[in-house]
Structure formats: structure tokens, C-alpha cells
Symmetry: C2
DNA sequence: CGTAACTTGCTGGCTGACAAGCAAGTGGAG
DNA sequence: CTCCACTTGCTTGTCAGCCAGCAAGTTACG
């Protein structure tokens, strides 16, 4: 009974509160979906009042868009960083592919909320929104990055597209279904060895699908 | 002004109406999600009144469970039929795998609503429900079927698990992301050639991951 | 065959719960 | 004093579930 204040009342800080609301909204949208999450819940989770999310983001939909944009921006940075690293290494493309698989698996495992948000978005969200242009931007960037990293000739474009599609499928899917299908199969996704085993498995699968390594004239030697 | 009846008023048929409600609910739950679908919408889509879904299924959650159970039951039948067919054929396992991939891709393409329902369920649904035991049953059956079809030795259990996980990932994922990621990559999922190309690609990937074909003593020769 | 008694598919009004958004209010910091 | 961060009261709307009722169809009975 020393204080009447229900909470310790830290100093006011719009930037920090805004971030807290974004974090809370990201978690709730990812866990429950857009329609099943209320602004009041988001406020409570962020440690603020019912009305604060609306104060910062006007409407629930704008808050949702802000969450998605922040997530996509982070993903874009990660893709770009991986691309730069892969290109600088100058390793043979088998190793580059192995590294890309490893990076991607790690990224997915480290960002379960992001993966769930994307998946919900792909399902058409709970309400139908206009598409998010940033999503396509990240997709394009990832496609370009992988194609460049692996030095795909233009002739094998169809192969490259399917390879990328497979890479994404193989990395995302187990994460999304970690608690359902993966366990039903008999795999423990929380086991220490799981991620390593998965990386080896995915790399082995994809290596077999690389087109013949004829380093054609399309190889870029800029700089 | 010949009749006062607003609709042609077909004869009453509880079984048919029940099915219509189930169909409407399946479509809406798959498209919009549980929380974003209302009983009134479901009724309207089924061509009945607001109260009819509740009349047949008591609550919205019970209706949802009925939808899921019907879907899983159909999936289970499909898995069993494919298993029987594969075992009877007596082909080498490479061909069996190719057939399984083809069947699975076709099934997924023919049941987009089912795939979406499963995906939403894996995301934790919009509200948290208890898990559906029928889902695990289908999973178990599919695992057993594939292992048996391909005559996996017990020693390669981990390989078999990851192979199945990859098969499911490679078939489901492009269907789920047909309108988002797949198009972003530059593939047209509605093209005639898409399914065939995808089948070949997936088969090629998975064939490379089959363990050595030592037909060990664990080979079942029952009957 | 005919009609009254009864069952059952199906409807629509009602209610309480809850949520989004708004706007007035509060209180701390410069 | 005055912004600005943040809260709280209120309005409006939606939705699930309940329930009384109606009418299509069925059985009992003359």
C-alpha cells in the first residue's frame, strides 16, 4: 500500500510506448489473427490502456499495416545482409547454397511470429486487405539474391524459380507446423539436433536439383 | 405477383440443408477464418436463414468442429485409397514415389479449402481450440502409408520422417501461396504446365533423398 | 378418404456481451 | 502555462445464442 499507482509508472516516452504497442500487436496478430485480436488486448499486453493503440495508430487496420511493414523491413535487411555476405565469400555455389539454407533455416527459427504473420497474410488475412507492396519487394529481392548467388544462367529460369519455391517451402513449412504435423510425424522440433538435421536434409535435396554448372557468359564480372 | 413466396421454396430436407450449411461454413472458414465468419453469413451463403446454422449445430464452435471432421474424414479416405493402390501395383519404389507425389499434388490442387483449413488450424485457429484427434489420425496414417509403400527399413526412420515432411511441404506450400509468393517469384500457378512441372521437380528432389535400396530383412512379406 | 393432432425443419425478433473509434479529460514534463 | 502522452466515458455497431412461433409434413383416427 505504499503507492496508489497500480503500475510503477515509468517516465513517458512516446517512442518506447509505440514500440511496445507494435510488439504486442505483432504477437497477438501472429498468435490469434487479426479479427480475433482486440485493441484492448493489445493495450493490455503492451502495459498501456485500452485507448493507447488507437492513439498512436488511429485504427486497428493501420496498426496491422504498421506491424507488417516493420516485419517486412527487418526481413529485407536480413536478405540483403545474406546476399552481400554470400557474394563476398566467393565460394563455389554448392557451399553458397548450403550457407543460404543454413541462414534461412536459422532466420525462420528465430522469427516465428514473422512467419506466422506472413502465412496469415497469404491465407487472405482475416479480413481482406489490399496487398502489401513491401511483401512483393522482399520476395523479388530474395529471388534476385538467390539467382545471383548461385549464378543461374538465364536459360534455367524455370529451374531457378522452382528451386527457390522449394527452398522456401522446405524451410517455412516445418516451422509453421512445428506443433502439429511435425510432431504427428514423430519428430521433436525442439530437439537440439532437429535444425542441423533439417539443414543437411534440405541442402541434400536442393543440391541434386542444381542445373548443370556451365558457367555461361551471363556470369557478371562487374568490378 | 404470381406467388408471395420470395424464393421457389424447395421441399424440406434436413440432410440436404445440413450439408449446405456445412459447405457454406467450410468455404467461409477457409476463406476468412473462424473469427471473421459469422453465423449469419454462413446461413446466407447456404441459402437459409440466420438461425439455421445454430439450429443444426448449436454453436459456432461445434459447427467448426463438424466442418473439420468431415474434411479429415475425406482426407483419410484418400490416403487409404492411395495406399491400397500403391501396394497393389507392386512397382519399384521410385515409381511408387512418383505416383505418390502425383496423387498428392493432385489432391492438394483439388482441395484448396481443405488445405487452407488445415493451415489455419496449424496457426492456432483464430481462437484456441482443443486439438482435433482426427488430424493426428490422418497424419499417422499418411506416415505409415508412405513408409510402407517405399519399404523403408526401420534403421532409416529419421530419413523417412524428413522425407515425408519434405513431401508435404513441397506439395502444400505452393498451393497455399499460389496467389502471393508463387506469383512474386514469377510463376503462374494457373498455367497448364505448372502442376506437371511441379510434380517432376518434386519427384526429382525426393528421389535423390531415398536411402540406399538395401532391401533388408525388415521387408514385410506378410501374405 | 378426410381431418385433426402432433412432429420437425426453419425463421426472425430479442438480448447481453463486446469491440472499434471518438472525444473529452487528466496529469506530467519542459 | 502549455503541449503532449495517455486514459476513460460514451456511442454505435456487430454477433452468438436463445426462444417463440410458423408452416411443411406425418401419423392417428374417424
Amino acid at each position: 500500500m505504499a503507492t496508489l499507482r497500480p503500475a510503477p509508472r515509468r517516465t513517458r516516452d512516446a517512442e518506447r510506448t509505440r514500440t511496445q504497442v507494435l510488439d504486442a500487436a505483432e504477437a497477438l496478430f501472429a498468435e490469434r489473427g487479426f479479427a480475433a485480436s482486440s485493441m484492448a488486448e493489445i493495450g493490455a499486453r503492451a502495459g498501456v490502456s485500452r485507448g493507447t493503440p488507437g492513439y498512436f495508430f488511429r485504427t486497428k487496420e493501420l496498426l496491422y499495416r504498421a506491424v507488417m511493414e516493420r516485419s517486412f523491413a527487418e526481413a529485407l535487411e536480413t536478405v540483403r545482409a545474406g546476399r552481400v555476405r554470400a557474394l563476398r565469400s566467393g565460394r563455389p555455389r554448392a557451399e553458397v547454397l548450403e550457407g543460404a539454407v543454413s541462414d534461412y533455416v536459422d532466420f525462420v527459427a528465430a522469427h516465428p511470429l514473422f512467419i506466422r504473420l506472413i502465412q496469415r497474410e497469404a491465407l487472405g488475412a482475416d479480413d481482406a486487405f489490399g496487398d502489401l507492396p513491401l511483401g512483393r519487394a522482399v520476395g523479388d529481392e530474395a529471388v534476385a539474391a538467390l539467382a545471383q548467388e548461385l549464378g543461374f544462367p538465364t536459360g534455367a529460369r524455370a529451374e531457378a524459380q522452382h528451386l527457390l519455391l522449394s527452398l522456401v517451402a522446405l524451410t517455412w513449412f516445418p516451422q509453421l507446423h512445428a506443433d502439429t504435423l511435425v510432431r504427428a510425424i514423430g519428430i521433436d522440433p525442439s530437439a537440439k539436433r532437429f535444425l542441423a538435421t533439417r539443414k543437411r536434409h534440405i541442402t541434400a535435396l536442393l543440391l541434386g536439383a542444381l542445373p548443370a554448372p556451365h558457367r555461361s557468359s551471363s556470369r557478371r564480372s562487374r568490378r
